[in-house]
Protein backbone atom coordinates (compact mmCIF):
# COMPACT_ATOMS: atom_id res chain seq x y z
CA UNK A 1 0.00 0.00 0.00
CA UNK A 2 1.58 3.29 -1.01
CA UNK A 3 1.73 6.45 1.13
CA UNK A 4 -1.11 8.23 -0.72
CA UNK A 5 -3.50 5.29 -0.29
CA UNK A 6 -2.70 5.01 3.44
CA UNK A 7 -3.35 8.76 3.83
CA UNK A 8 -6.68 8.46 2.01
CA UNK A 9 -7.78 5.53 4.22
CA UNK A 10 -6.71 7.42 7.33
CA UNK A 11 -8.71 10.50 6.23
CA UNK A 12 -11.74 8.36 5.39
CA UNK A 13 -11.79 6.72 8.85
CA UNK A 14 -11.11 10.05 10.58
CA UNK A 15 -14.07 11.64 8.78
CA UNK A 16 -16.25 8.61 9.57
CA UNK A 17 -15.28 8.80 13.25
CA UNK A 18 -16.09 12.53 13.41
CA UNK A 19 -19.48 11.96 11.75
CA UNK A 20 -20.25 9.16 14.22
CA UNK A 21 -19.25 11.35 17.17
CA UNK A 22 -21.44 14.20 15.87
CA UNK A 23 -24.46 11.94 15.33
CA UNK A 24 -24.00 10.34 18.76
CA UNK A 25 -23.97 13.75 20.44
CA UNK A 26 -27.14 14.82 18.58
CA UNK A 27 -28.98 11.60 19.44
CA UNK A 28 -27.76 11.75 23.04
CA UNK A 29 -28.85 15.35 23.52
CA UNK A 30 -32.26 14.69 21.95
CA UNK A 31 -32.82 11.64 24.11
CA UNK A 32 -31.49 13.04 27.36
CA UNK A 33 -32.67 16.65 27.20
CA UNK A 34 -36.02 18.04 28.23
CA UNK A 35 -37.16 21.33 26.75
CA UNK A 36 -37.04 23.91 29.54
CA UNK A 37 -37.22 26.97 27.27
CA UNK A 38 -40.75 28.11 28.17
CA UNK A 39 -40.16 27.20 31.81
CA UNK A 40 -36.86 29.09 32.14
CA UNK A 41 -38.08 32.16 30.24
CA UNK A 42 -41.00 32.57 32.68
CA UNK A 43 -38.76 32.23 35.73
CA UNK A 44 -36.17 34.52 37.30
CA UNK A 45 -33.87 34.45 40.31
CA UNK A 46 -35.71 37.17 42.25
CA UNK A 47 -37.17 36.01 45.57
CA UNK A 48 -40.90 36.34 46.09
CA UNK A 49 -41.86 38.91 48.75
CA UNK A 50 -42.97 38.24 52.30
CA UNK A 51 -46.73 38.73 52.64
CA UNK A 52 -47.50 40.64 55.82
CA UNK A 53 -50.69 41.58 57.62
CA UNK A 54 -53.15 39.17 56.03
CA UNK A 55 -54.69 35.96 57.36
CA UNK A 56 -54.46 32.50 55.81
CA UNK A 57 -57.64 31.60 53.96
CA UNK A 58 -56.35 29.04 51.45
CA UNK A 59 -53.54 26.49 51.57
CA UNK A 60 -51.80 24.89 48.60
CA UNK A 61 -49.59 22.06 49.84
CA UNK A 62 -47.10 20.88 47.19
CA UNK A 63 -45.29 17.59 47.85
CA UNK A 64 -42.40 16.43 45.71
CA UNK A 65 -42.32 12.68 46.31
CA UNK A 66 -38.70 11.65 46.87
CA UNK A 67 -37.46 15.22 46.34
CA UNK A 68 -34.36 15.90 48.42
CA UNK A 69 -32.20 19.01 48.29
CA UNK A 70 -29.95 17.37 45.66
CA UNK A 71 -32.90 16.68 43.34
CA UNK A 72 -33.75 20.39 43.61
CA UNK A 73 -30.11 21.40 43.01
CA UNK A 74 -29.51 19.27 39.90
CA UNK A 75 -32.80 20.49 38.42
CA UNK A 76 -31.87 24.11 39.07
CA UNK A 77 -28.40 23.75 37.58
CA UNK A 78 -29.76 21.97 34.52
CA UNK A 79 -32.86 24.10 33.86
CA UNK A 80 -32.03 27.64 34.97
CA UNK A 81 -28.29 27.55 35.62
CA UNK A 82 -26.04 27.52 38.63
CA UNK A 83 -27.10 31.01 39.75
CA UNK A 84 -30.75 30.69 38.78
CA UNK A 85 -33.59 29.64 41.04
CA UNK A 86 -36.52 27.28 40.69
CA UNK A 87 -39.91 28.72 41.69
CA UNK A 88 -39.74 26.83 44.98
CA UNK A 89 -36.29 28.29 45.66
CA UNK A 90 -37.68 31.80 45.20
CA UNK A 91 -40.05 31.31 48.13
CA UNK A 92 -38.84 33.60 50.94
CA UNK A 93 -38.97 31.15 53.86
CA UNK A 94 -37.06 27.88 54.06
CA UNK A 95 -36.89 25.08 56.59
CA UNK A 96 -35.92 21.46 57.03
CA UNK A 97 -38.23 18.55 57.83
CA UNK A 98 -37.40 15.19 59.43
CA UNK A 99 -39.11 12.23 57.83
CA UNK A 100 -38.82 9.02 59.92
CA UNK A 101 -41.95 6.89 60.40
CA UNK A 102 -43.29 5.35 63.63
CA UNK A 103 -41.46 2.08 63.01
CA UNK A 104 -38.52 2.92 60.77
CA UNK A 105 -35.84 5.55 60.20
CA UNK A 106 -36.57 5.14 56.49
CA UNK A 107 -40.17 6.09 55.80
CA UNK A 108 -42.34 5.10 52.88
CA UNK A 109 -44.86 7.43 51.22
CA UNK A 110 -47.79 6.02 53.20
CA UNK A 111 -46.33 6.82 56.62
CA UNK A 112 -44.84 10.11 55.43
CA UNK A 113 -48.09 11.09 53.69
CA UNK A 114 -49.92 10.29 56.91
CA UNK A 115 -47.52 12.48 58.91
CA UNK A 116 -47.95 15.37 56.44
CA UNK A 117 -51.73 14.93 56.29
CA UNK A 118 -52.61 14.18 59.91
CA UNK A 119 -49.81 15.48 62.14
CA UNK A 120 -49.32 11.97 63.56
CA UNK A 121 -46.80 9.19 62.93
CA UNK A 122 -47.75 5.75 61.75
CA UNK A 123 -46.00 2.62 60.46
CA UNK A 124 -44.77 2.21 56.91
CA UNK A 125 -47.57 1.06 54.64
CA UNK A 126 -50.43 2.47 56.75
CA UNK A 127 -52.64 5.27 55.38
CA UNK A 128 -54.00 7.85 57.88
CA UNK A 129 -54.54 5.33 60.65
CA UNK A 130 -52.79 4.39 63.89
CA UNK A 131 -49.84 1.93 63.57
CA UNK A 132 -52.07 -0.99 64.61
CA UNK A 133 -54.65 -0.02 61.96
CA UNK A 134 -57.40 0.29 64.56
CA UNK A 135 -58.05 4.04 64.65
CA UNK A 136 -58.44 6.67 61.96
CA UNK A 137 -56.48 9.90 62.05
CA UNK A 138 -58.30 13.10 61.04
CA UNK A 139 -56.56 14.69 58.04
CA UNK A 140 -55.95 18.39 57.42
CA UNK A 141 -58.06 18.06 54.25
CA UNK A 142 -60.97 16.58 56.21
CA UNK A 143 -60.64 19.23 58.93
CA UNK A 144 -60.61 21.95 56.24
CA UNK A 145 -63.73 20.46 54.67
CA UNK A 146 -65.47 20.37 58.09
CA UNK A 147 -64.77 24.10 58.27
CA UNK A 148 -66.59 24.73 54.99
CA UNK A 149 -63.53 24.95 52.76
CA UNK A 150 -63.39 23.29 49.33
CA UNK A 151 -60.72 20.63 48.86
CA UNK A 152 -58.63 19.07 46.10
CA UNK A 153 -56.02 16.40 45.43
CA UNK A 154 -53.75 16.21 42.39
CA UNK A 155 -51.04 13.64 41.59
CA UNK A 156 -49.08 12.41 38.60
CA UNK A 157 -49.42 8.87 40.01
CA UNK A 158 -52.74 7.11 40.42
CA UNK A 159 -54.89 9.36 42.57
CA UNK A 160 -55.25 6.31 44.84
CA UNK A 161 -51.48 6.14 45.46
CA UNK A 162 -50.10 6.55 48.99
CA UNK A 163 -49.56 10.32 49.17
CA UNK A 164 -52.93 11.58 47.85
CA UNK A 165 -54.67 8.68 49.63
CA UNK A 166 -53.27 9.84 52.99
CA UNK A 167 -55.31 13.05 52.80
CA UNK A 168 -58.79 11.58 52.28
CA UNK A 169 -58.87 7.86 53.04
CA UNK A 170 -58.04 5.51 55.91
CA UNK A 171 -56.73 2.01 55.19
CA UNK A 172 -54.33 -0.27 57.02
CA UNK A 173 -52.41 -1.08 53.82
CA UNK A 174 -51.51 1.18 50.90
CA UNK A 175 -52.10 -1.82 48.64
CA UNK A 176 -55.89 -1.42 49.01
CA UNK A 177 -56.22 1.03 46.15
CA UNK A 178 -59.68 -0.12 45.06
CA UNK A 179 -60.94 0.63 48.59
CA UNK A 180 -59.08 3.95 48.59
CA UNK A 181 -60.89 4.93 45.37
CA UNK A 182 -64.25 4.40 47.10
CA UNK A 183 -63.17 6.42 50.12
CA UNK A 184 -61.86 9.34 48.04
CA UNK A 185 -65.29 9.72 46.47
CA UNK A 186 -67.15 9.19 49.77
CA UNK A 187 -65.00 11.96 51.25
CA UNK A 188 -66.50 14.30 48.62
CA UNK A 189 -63.15 15.87 47.81
CA UNK A 190 -64.15 18.57 45.32
CA UNK A 191 -61.35 18.07 42.82
CA UNK A 192 -59.55 14.77 42.16
CA UNK A 193 -57.08 14.86 39.26
CA UNK A 194 -54.46 12.28 38.26
CA UNK A 195 -54.14 8.72 36.99
CA UNK A 196 -55.61 5.45 38.24
CA UNK A 197 -58.79 4.95 36.21
CA UNK A 198 -58.19 1.19 36.62
CA UNK A 199 -59.36 1.44 40.24
CA UNK A 200 -62.59 3.26 39.30
CA UNK A 201 -63.96 0.97 36.57
CA UNK A 202 -65.76 -2.37 37.17
CA UNK A 203 -63.69 -5.55 37.04
CA UNK A 204 -65.58 -6.60 33.92
CA UNK A 205 -64.12 -3.60 32.05
CA UNK A 206 -60.83 -3.97 30.18
CA UNK A 207 -57.85 -2.87 32.25
CA UNK A 208 -59.72 -2.82 35.56
CA UNK A 209 -57.89 -3.58 38.80
CA UNK A 210 -61.06 -3.61 40.91
CA UNK A 211 -62.14 -6.75 42.72
CA UNK A 212 -65.84 -5.95 42.31
CA UNK A 213 -68.16 -4.67 39.62
CA UNK A 214 -68.70 -1.20 41.04
CA UNK A 215 -68.48 1.55 38.43
CA UNK A 216 -67.11 4.39 40.54
CA UNK A 217 -67.10 6.82 37.63
CA UNK A 218 -70.85 6.33 37.18
CA UNK A 219 -71.29 6.59 40.95
CA UNK A 220 -69.28 9.82 41.00
CA UNK A 221 -71.38 11.31 38.21
CA UNK A 222 -74.55 10.34 40.09
CA UNK A 223 -73.50 12.38 43.11
CA UNK A 224 -72.57 15.47 41.10
CA UNK A 225 -69.01 15.00 39.83
CA UNK A 226 -68.10 16.10 36.32
CA UNK A 227 -65.81 13.44 34.82
CA UNK A 228 -62.98 14.21 32.35
CA UNK A 229 -60.19 12.15 30.83
CA UNK A 230 -58.65 14.44 28.19
CA UNK A 231 -56.97 17.81 28.26
CA UNK A 232 -59.69 19.34 26.06
CA UNK A 233 -62.44 18.13 28.41
CA UNK A 234 -60.48 19.47 31.36
CA UNK A 235 -60.33 22.97 29.90
CA UNK A 236 -64.11 23.29 29.73
CA UNK A 237 -64.87 21.42 32.98
CA UNK A 238 -66.80 23.15 35.71
CA UNK A 239 -67.04 22.54 39.45
CA UNK A 240 -67.93 22.31 42.16
CA UNK A 241 -67.01 18.60 41.84
CA UNK A 242 -64.53 17.33 39.27
CA UNK A 243 -63.00 13.87 38.78
CA UNK A 244 -60.24 13.75 36.16
CA UNK A 245 -58.54 10.41 35.42
CA UNK A 246 -56.21 10.70 32.45
CA UNK A 247 -54.68 7.18 32.37
CA UNK A 248 -55.55 3.68 33.54
CA UNK A 249 -52.48 3.77 35.80
CA UNK A 250 -50.03 6.65 36.34
CA UNK A 251 -49.76 9.71 34.11
CA UNK A 252 -47.24 9.52 31.27
CA UNK A 253 -46.17 13.12 32.02
CA UNK A 254 -45.97 13.84 28.30
CA UNK A 255 -48.38 15.48 25.79
CA UNK A 256 -51.28 15.30 25.08
CA UNK A 257 -51.90 14.87 28.80
CA UNK A 258 -52.40 18.04 30.82
CA UNK A 259 -49.26 18.98 32.75
CA UNK A 260 -49.19 19.10 36.53
CA UNK A 261 -49.15 22.89 36.18
CA UNK A 262 -52.31 22.85 34.05
CA UNK A 263 -54.03 20.52 36.53
CA UNK A 264 -53.07 22.89 39.35
CA UNK A 265 -54.45 25.88 37.45
CA UNK A 266 -57.78 24.13 36.87
CA UNK A 267 -58.08 23.01 40.48
CA UNK A 268 -57.41 26.54 41.76
CA UNK A 269 -59.98 27.93 39.29
CA UNK A 270 -62.69 25.64 40.70
CA UNK A 271 -61.74 25.64 44.38
CA UNK A 272 -61.19 29.40 44.72
CA UNK A 273 -64.85 30.12 43.99
CA UNK A 274 -65.60 29.22 47.61
CA UNK A 275 -65.59 32.30 49.85
CA UNK A 276 -64.68 30.15 52.86
CA UNK A 277 -61.35 29.16 51.31
CA UNK A 278 -59.79 25.97 50.01
CA UNK A 279 -57.17 23.31 50.74
CA UNK A 280 -55.33 21.78 47.78
CA UNK A 281 -52.58 19.12 47.79
CA UNK A 282 -50.45 18.81 44.64
CA UNK A 283 -48.01 15.91 44.32
CA UNK A 284 -45.13 15.52 41.88
CA UNK A 285 -45.28 11.75 42.30
CA UNK A 286 -42.70 10.61 39.80
CA UNK A 287 -39.60 12.35 41.18
CA UNK A 288 -39.55 9.32 43.47
CA UNK A 289 -39.89 6.84 40.63
CA UNK A 290 -37.10 8.40 38.56
CA UNK A 291 -34.88 8.44 41.65
CA UNK A 292 -35.62 4.77 42.41
CA UNK A 293 -34.33 4.01 38.93
CA UNK A 294 -31.36 6.33 39.55
CA UNK A 295 -32.22 8.14 36.28
CA UNK A 296 -30.91 11.69 36.52
CA UNK A 297 -32.55 13.00 33.35
CA UNK A 298 -36.05 11.92 34.36
CA UNK A 299 -35.47 13.09 37.94
CA UNK A 300 -34.77 16.56 36.57
CA UNK A 301 -37.77 16.44 34.21
CA UNK A 302 -40.16 15.37 36.98
CA UNK A 303 -38.80 18.00 39.38
CA UNK A 304 -39.24 20.75 36.79
CA UNK A 305 -42.81 19.61 36.01
CA UNK A 306 -43.49 19.76 39.75
CA UNK A 307 -41.87 23.18 40.01
CA UNK A 308 -44.07 24.47 37.18
CA UNK A 309 -47.07 23.53 39.34
CA UNK A 310 -45.48 25.35 42.28
CA UNK A 311 -45.16 28.38 39.98
CA UNK A 312 -48.91 28.22 39.21
CA UNK A 313 -49.71 28.07 42.93
CA UNK A 314 -47.49 31.09 43.59
CA UNK A 315 -49.01 33.04 40.67
CA UNK A 316 -52.41 32.69 42.33
CA UNK A 317 -51.08 33.39 45.84
CA UNK A 318 -49.32 36.58 44.69
CA UNK A 319 -52.63 37.99 43.46
CA UNK A 320 -54.78 36.59 46.25
CA UNK A 321 -52.61 37.59 49.28
CA UNK A 322 -54.50 35.12 51.53
CA UNK A 323 -53.01 31.90 50.18
CA UNK A 324 -50.22 30.04 51.93
CA UNK A 325 -48.09 27.85 49.63
CA UNK A 326 -45.99 25.14 51.28
CA UNK A 327 -43.54 22.97 49.32
CA UNK A 328 -41.80 19.95 50.81
CA UNK A 329 -41.08 16.26 50.21
CA UNK A 330 -42.29 13.13 51.94
CA UNK A 331 -38.73 11.71 51.91
CA UNK A 332 -35.60 11.67 49.77
CA UNK A 333 -35.10 8.84 47.26
CA UNK A 334 -31.85 7.52 45.84
CA UNK A 335 -29.37 9.14 48.24
CA UNK A 336 -28.43 11.57 45.47
CA UNK A 337 -25.25 13.65 45.77
CA UNK A 338 -23.45 15.91 43.32
CA UNK A 339 -19.84 14.78 42.93
CA UNK A 340 -18.77 17.17 40.20
CA UNK A 341 -19.53 18.76 36.88
CA UNK A 342 -18.95 21.92 34.91
CA UNK A 343 -20.20 25.32 36.01
CA UNK A 344 -22.72 25.68 33.18
CA UNK A 345 -24.52 22.53 34.23
CA UNK A 346 -24.06 20.79 30.88
CA UNK A 347 -22.46 17.82 32.58
CA UNK A 348 -23.19 16.68 36.10
CA UNK A 349 -21.36 13.88 37.85
CA UNK A 350 -23.66 12.43 40.48
CA UNK A 351 -23.73 9.51 42.86
CA UNK A 352 -26.80 7.50 43.85
CA UNK A 353 -26.09 5.78 47.16
CA UNK A 354 -29.28 3.67 47.24
CA UNK A 355 -32.05 2.32 45.04
CA UNK A 356 -34.49 2.93 47.89
CA UNK A 357 -35.43 5.89 50.09
CA UNK A 358 -32.96 7.62 52.38
CA UNK A 359 -33.41 9.04 55.87
CA UNK A 360 -31.95 12.41 54.91
CA UNK A 361 -34.13 15.35 56.03
CA UNK A 362 -35.95 17.19 53.24
CA UNK A 363 -36.30 20.87 52.29
CA UNK A 364 -39.33 22.97 53.16
CA UNK A 365 -40.27 26.19 51.35
CA UNK A 366 -43.05 28.61 52.30
CA UNK A 367 -44.70 31.64 50.72
CA UNK A 368 -47.73 33.66 51.78
CA UNK A 369 -49.22 35.01 55.01
CA UNK A 370 -47.52 33.60 58.13
CA UNK A 371 -44.96 31.76 55.99
CA UNK A 372 -42.32 32.60 58.62
CA UNK A 373 -43.97 29.99 60.89
CA UNK A 374 -42.24 27.36 58.75
CA UNK A 375 -38.65 28.63 59.14
CA UNK A 376 -36.47 26.22 61.09
CA UNK A 377 -36.04 22.49 61.63
CA UNK A 378 -39.24 20.50 62.16
CA UNK A 379 -40.65 17.05 62.29
CA UNK A 380 -42.90 16.39 59.28
CA UNK A 381 -45.86 16.05 61.68
CA UNK A 382 -45.42 19.71 62.69
CA UNK A 383 -46.31 20.94 59.19
CA UNK A 384 -50.07 20.14 59.20
CA UNK A 385 -50.29 21.16 62.86
CA UNK A 386 -49.06 24.64 61.94
CA UNK A 387 -51.43 24.72 58.97
CA UNK A 388 -54.35 23.83 61.26
CA UNK A 389 -53.39 26.55 63.73
CA UNK A 390 -53.20 29.16 60.96
CA UNK A 391 -56.61 28.06 59.64
CA UNK A 392 -57.97 28.26 63.21
CA UNK A 393 -58.88 24.57 63.20
CA UNK A 394 -59.26 23.32 66.76
CA UNK A 395 -58.67 19.73 67.88
CA UNK A 396 -55.89 18.90 65.46
CA UNK A 397 -54.28 16.41 65.39
CA UNK A 398 -57.15 14.15 66.28
CA UNK A 399 -57.57 10.37 66.53
CA UNK A 400 -61.03 9.15 65.57
CA UNK A 401 -62.85 5.94 66.42
CA UNK A 402 -62.77 3.31 63.70
Amino acid sequence: MNKITRKAIFRFFLTLTLICLFLTSVVFSEKESYDYSSYSSSNSSTSFPLIKGSKVKNIIFCIGDGMGIAQVAVSRINAVGLDGKLYMERMPITGIARTHSANNLITDSAAAGTALATGQKTNNGVIAMSPDGKNKYLTILEASKNKGMTTGLIATSSITDATPASFASHVSSRKGQDDIAIQLLESKVNVLLGGGKQFFIPQSAQGSKRKDNRDLIAEAKAVGYAFVETNDDLKSAQGPFLLGLFQLDALKTDPPEPTLGELTDKAIEILSKNKKGFFLMVEGSQIDWASHENKLDNTIKQTILFDEAVGKAIDFALKDKHTLVIVTADHETGGLTIKGGDLNGKSLDVNWSTKGHSGTPVPLYAFGPNAKEFAGVYDNTDIPKTMARLLKIKLFPQTLEK
Binding site: N104, I106, T107, D108, S109, N124, G125, S157, S158, A162, R174, K175, D249, A250, Q286, W289, H292, E293, T354, K355, G356, H357
Partner: protein
Protein backbone atom coordinates in the same frame (compact mmCIF):
# COMPACT_ATOMS: atom_id res chain seq x y z
CA UNK B 1 -32.50 -23.10 33.18
CA UNK B 2 -34.70 -22.14 36.14
CA UNK B 3 -35.82 -18.55 36.55
CA UNK B 4 -37.14 -17.01 39.78
CA UNK B 5 -38.94 -13.68 40.25
CA UNK B 6 -38.82 -12.00 43.66
CA UNK B 7 -40.51 -8.80 44.86
CA UNK B 8 -38.74 -6.43 47.24
CA UNK B 9 -40.14 -3.35 48.99
CA UNK B 10 -38.69 -0.37 47.11
CA UNK B 11 -38.61 1.73 50.29
CA UNK B 12 -35.37 0.00 51.20
CA UNK B 13 -32.12 -0.45 49.31
CA UNK B 14 -31.34 -3.75 47.63
CA UNK B 15 -28.34 -5.81 48.68
CA UNK B 16 -27.78 -6.99 45.10
CA UNK B 17 -27.20 -5.44 41.70
CA UNK B 18 -27.60 -6.77 38.15
CA UNK B 19 -24.85 -9.28 37.34
CA UNK B 20 -24.21 -10.29 40.96
CA UNK B 21 -23.58 -13.99 41.61
CA UNK B 22 -25.59 -15.10 44.61
CA UNK B 23 -25.81 -18.16 46.82
CA UNK B 24 -28.98 -19.70 48.22
CA UNK B 25 -30.15 -17.73 51.31
CA UNK B 26 -28.18 -14.62 50.38
CA UNK B 27 -29.93 -11.44 51.55
CA UNK B 28 -31.62 -9.52 48.69
CA UNK B 29 -33.59 -6.75 50.40
CA UNK B 30 -36.92 -6.53 52.26
CA UNK B 31 -39.84 -8.67 51.09
CA UNK B 32 -42.71 -6.68 49.61
CA UNK B 33 -45.20 -9.21 50.95
CA UNK B 34 -44.06 -10.00 54.48
CA UNK B 35 -41.76 -7.12 55.39
CA UNK B 36 -39.15 -9.69 56.43
CA UNK B 37 -35.64 -10.01 55.03
CA UNK B 38 -35.87 -11.37 51.49
CA UNK B 39 -33.55 -14.35 50.92
CA UNK B 40 -32.66 -15.91 47.60
CA UNK B 41 -34.21 -19.38 47.30
CA UNK B 42 -31.59 -20.46 44.75
CA UNK B 43 -27.95 -20.09 43.71
CA UNK B 44 -27.72 -18.01 40.57
CA UNK B 45 -27.15 -14.67 38.84
CA UNK B 46 -29.20 -11.47 39.11
CA UNK B 47 -30.29 -11.01 35.53
CA UNK B 48 -32.62 -8.03 35.83
CA UNK B 49 -33.98 -5.59 38.42
CA UNK B 50 -36.85 -3.27 37.55
CA UNK B 51 -38.87 -0.79 39.57
CA UNK B 52 -42.66 -1.22 39.55
CA UNK B 53 -44.19 2.10 40.63
CA UNK B 54 -47.73 0.78 40.96
CA UNK B 55 -46.78 -1.60 43.76
CA UNK B 56 -43.70 0.37 44.81
CA UNK B 57 -41.62 -2.77 44.49
CA UNK B 58 -38.41 -3.95 42.87
CA UNK B 59 -38.92 -6.94 40.62
CA UNK B 60 -35.79 -9.12 40.79
CA UNK B 61 -35.18 -11.83 38.17
CA UNK B 62 -32.66 -14.54 39.09
CA UNK B 63 -31.35 -17.18 36.70
CA UNK B 64 -30.36 -20.41 38.45
CA UNK B 65 -26.85 -21.78 37.93
Amino acid sequence: MKEIILYADATFDLKVRVGDKIEQDDEMGISADSGDVLLSPIKGTIEKISFNPEDHTFVIRIIEE
